[in-house]
Subunit: 638 residues, 2 copies
């Protein structure tokens, strides 16, 4: 295989890669976090670099150049090459939650990641869903000559308590040769499956190298993949990208509608499978892992995402009574799905509770451990589809409400995802002006979810916004034009786009409806259970906002129920954390199946009190002062 050296300026980082590798993959291999948000499909155009010297070949398909630069993801290396990486093509700010630590960021180096304390994994013993077992098989004698398979089973039973062992036929055909190729020393790649074990592969000799697994979170918006050593349990690397299906619909409902078109389901399925393959390929390249050494994956995602990943028709999910094809734990092989890792690698999708509470929430619960404690806890995953779980080790009840994409950056004129240029924090200055902090420290482009919460809270506290969500005409920063009142968040000269960033009256109504939906879901579920918010000993906040949400401000606007602030714990990307736990511990995987069974799903669409709660929550923080005493006191009302 021909190799080529790639040098990245200005730091002169260089790396040797196989000819044919894309420039983006080479950058990842070099430890240079080039922005590949779209998963390397030439869509986001964020990986643009300038060629200084040397040959490159454009890939077929999407455009490979933009404004005189080349897209690293669309260029194959065909010889030694030097490129210059402009600062704005590097990932620094994109805050896709990768489930490690808010400080670790995306595409963190393996050293950083190894140093990060793993969230709550210690609860379950390290016993991965798939593992490499070295065996030295005794030599058969005329008095004791079991079959090759019999000998293998006997030693696995004796040494590793493996009872039932399923061996696929193509592998069984190779067993005699594999046993004899290295003096009866073999490495059995074993997976837990259907209550027994499956032999994924049998390698001649004992392998010194480790084997790997994947923890995958398929979100509606982002996809995160952890490459995890199955021997040590350590995460070797993390890769993330925007879900490429975004181009075909922002939320699950629009994806379901697209899936009903001719070839729509297959198109969506291919996009997500290809995307996971690209991310895994980058990780494998960066961490010098052979794809065939990846022998298991646990996938978490909401019910629709799992349907699209597996190619299951999701149509009934959006039709009353909202019946998915399956929510049970589903275990297949990489080859069944098209993942380019070991073809017999087990791909296990975490089970969910229903159409709108999926395996991602099961993973969240697994990650929190709330199911093992007596403490009464609530989990809130306030994404587009806001999920809530209340319970403890004795019971778990869950619901979902359509909160809309406002807190994920959609549906408002100033909203954007938590990426470079997004304002994530606001503080009202004494002079009534707004100070802000944008991701990546450059000029702002818009406001992300946690920024919007900050903004609402600051405007409310300053009296710019009244309790029904209307701007006060004449208040500092409030402007009026033909289309109504608005707040100037950042003026055109200060922004990256050269246009004003503004919050309109319509934006405010959208945000209010989102926050009311989230809170109403929480409140109805609690009411049904006869629980008062103050009974909650712990509130876990997952996904959605990221970890930069200011809890006090979220309570001030009535998004989160008001409890002592120290009771709130951020779990970040609980979905990928839970997937990682299930990958690394059979007990956790089995617990996930129990959890999904245990989580009673309540459909709020038929609850008569939902509308009542929703209307009350359209106020800031809420019509009922008794529920938000601190907020009301701070605002000097109630």
């Amino acid at each position: 295989m021909a190799t080529a050296r790639v040098t990245f300026l200005p730091d002169a980082e260089s790396v040797l890669v196989e000819s044919g590798t894309t420039l983006l993959d080479a950058a990842i291999a070099a430890g240079l976090p080039l922005d590949g948000s779209c998963g390397g499909r030439g869509i986001c155009q964020r990986c643009a670099v300038s060629v200084v010297d040397g040959p490159l070949e454009a890939l077929e398909g999407a455009a490979s150049t933009v404004d005189g630069r080349v897209l690293a993801c669309r260029m194959a290396i065909v010889g030694d090459v030097t490129v210059d990486v402009p600062a704005d093509s590097r990932i620094e700010g994109l805050e896709i939650l990768t489930g490690v630590d808010r400080a670790a960021g995306i595409l963190a180096t393996s050293d950083q990641l190894r140093a990060v304390a793993l969230f709550d994994v210690g609860r379950y013993p390290l016993e991965p869903l798939a593992a490499a077992v070295p065996l030295a098989l005794p030599r058969p004698t005329i008095d004791e000559a079991p079959s090759d398979l019999g000998m293998l089973r006997r030693e696995l039973r004796r040494e590793h308590a493996v009872d039932e062992l399923v061996v696929p036929l193509p592998l069984l055909r190779k067993v005699p040769e594999r046993i004899r190729a290295s003096g009866r020393r073999v490495t059995a790649l074993l997976a837990h499956r259907d209550g027994g074990h499956e032999l994924l592969d049998l390698l001649a000799g004992h392998e010194g190298r480790p084997f790997f697994g994947l923890a995958v979170d398929i979100g509606t918006t982002t996809v995160v993949v952890h490459l995890v050593s199955l021997g040590s349990g350590e995460t070797a690397g993390v890769a993330a990208a925007l879900n490429g299906q975004l181009t075909l619909g922002e939320d699950v409902i629009s994806r379901i509608i697209h899936a009903a078109e001719p070839d729509g389901l297959e198109r969506l399925r291919r996009i997500i499978v290809d995307e996971v393959n690209v991310l895994v390929g980058s990780l494998a390249l960066a961490h010098h892992v052979d794809r065939h050494e990846i022998i298991a994956a646990v996938v978490a995602g909401n019910t629709t995402m799992i349907h699209l990943f597996l190619g299951l028709p999701p149509g009934e999910i959006r039709r009353e009574p909202y019946v998915p094809v399956a929510t049970a734990p589903l275990v297949y092989h990489a080859a069944d799905i098209g993942l380019r890792i070991h073809s017999r690698a087990v791909i296990a999708c975490l089970p969910g509770a229903g159409s709108y509470v999926g395996g991602d929430i099961t993973a969240d619960v697994l990650a929190t451990g709330m199911d093992r404690r007596t403490e009464l806890a609530m989990l809130i995953d306030a994404g587009t589809n806001g999920e809530t779980v209340i319970g403890n080790r004795d019971f778990l009840v869950c619901c979902a409400c359509s909160a809309g994409p406002a807190f994920e950056g959609g549906g408002t004129s100033c909203g954007m995802r938590a990426a470079r240029g997004a304002i994530s924090r606001f503080e009202m200055q004494a002079d009534g002006s707004l100070a802000y902090e944008a991701i990546g420290d450059g000029p702002p482009r818009g406001v992300c979810g946690s920024g919007l919460v900050d903004l609402l809270a600051e405007l409310l506290r300053a009296g710019v916004l009244d309790r029904s969500g209307h701007l006060r005409p004449g208040a500092t920063g409030v402007r009026e034009d033909d289309s109504g009142l608005r707040v100037l968040v950042a003026p055109a000269p200060a922004t990256a786009t050269g246009e004003d960033i503004v919050l309109t009256a319509a934006d405010l109504q959208t945000l209010l409806r989102s926050k009311a939906a989230v809170y109403a879901g929480v409140a109805v579920l609690a009411r049904r259970l006869g629980i008062d918010m103050t009974d909650l000993e712990r509130i876990y906040v997952a996904g959605g906002f990221g970890t930069s949400l200011d809890v006090g401000k979220a309570m001030l606007i009535g998004l989160l129920p008001e409890v002592p602030v120290e009771r709130v714990t951020f779990i970040g990307n609980g979905s990928v954390t839970g997937a990682r736990m299930a990958l690394l511990s059979r007990a956790a995987w089995e617990r996930a199946a129990e959890l999904a069974e245990m989580m009673t799903y309540r459909d709020l669409s038929v609850d008569s009190t939902f509308m009542e709660e929703y209307v009350s929550a359209l106020f800031l923080p809420h019509t009922d002062a008794a529920r938000f005493p601190r907020a009301h006191a701070a605002l000097g009302v109630g």
Copy 2:
């Protein structure tokens, strides 16, 4: 699909078939048992017919004509056609044991077969390895909306005690459509597998038609297939052919040697898989069964045959310490193996005890039921590889000895398989001449196994043969020429070949060595267990000789141990009977797995007493008169 009418003279039987059907398949469909010994590959040339009128198209490959006739197996029907079937192209005599009844014969019509009492199947409840389960799924409501898979599992658990249910991904993708296509009425095709259940298919609506399974016996010499209704347990039809691998080697050792050649294993595998496909195709056509309605098969065969069927390298079977790849129960899908039935049909190979006691013997034991009684019994399968099992419900011990093919028609100048023209019975007349009876009532071509036993016994009784197996010069019928003494069995004018059928001194030695090996195996095994032959309360004789063996004569020559004749039971093709039982009863399948574990294999090649027993058994009936008192009395010796 275009159809054509085929008329078979002289009986003017006619049948309507799809264009493209071979003439052989059409004959089978018409209920005309044309001889397709080679499985329709143009090798045996026994299906030759004369074309009277109408078009036929020769298939590519092997020759399609012989002596002005066409081979029915090599000719495709392309329009209405009339052919004349000469008497010698009809199967009448081929006595491949099809496991139903000695009277039923091969390719018996379904009416005949339905009337035959099934051998000993009543012992196990009818609960087939795969079954069609009609379900009416309740309509989900907003309060009770499990997933499609969840609903299916719930109903299967509630109505049919199905616990775990594995659903292959391509099928899961179709589940929603199948459920809704026929008002939530579905037919689940379920198979028992790995301790749980697998959904093979889900059909919309309730099927009125039955589903079928196959019981398959793959012998070194012959292949027998039963098409069995999984609903009623009845055999709809039986087809049989010579094992096409015969052209690549007569016995298992020569096949193993061939398998080691480049592509040898794949060639052998294809031959047997193609052959089973041809037989199944004929049965499906004849009994109006769609191949896709065949959803399970249980296959019995000796360890080498199962290796070749599954494509497992058999090389170590013939090398000390004789290690097969696997003897455990192996369950795969039709698509894994290349059987052209329902692609997800379960194909279950019966387990064996070792390299030389395979699943066919497990099936024999299952068929006899000796493993469930207190009575001490012995099973003898005196084929090329003579297997013996001794035991009862408390223990089972087995051995094998290489008896050679003499009693299956090989290795002697006059020997032939039990086919048309084979002499199966002899009786010495008062004048010293030999009266005989040939299969098919035509002129004889040779002598089959049971005929050879008869011949030896009659010659011994008449004093033509002495107790050490030598012909007495000058005795009636004994001739001498340059190559030594011989017996004229049938003179040239009376034979089908126009040549004398003779038994030479060398033939006698071959036969003696075979019978000595079989008896020595039996005797050593009994001695090891401290069992006297007279302790045996029952002797089962399976396969090999067929059911036409004269027990008294077999004891007279010392082939079978001497016990009261009424203790001997013929089980015919116990291999296919056992396969049928396992197909129809999960309990029998599970029992087979227990049996294979329970059967302790004794390797006689390391037993010092074997040679001693063998030498003693080279006498007729044996050197030890105490073991054969009746025989010695009848012969006036001892």
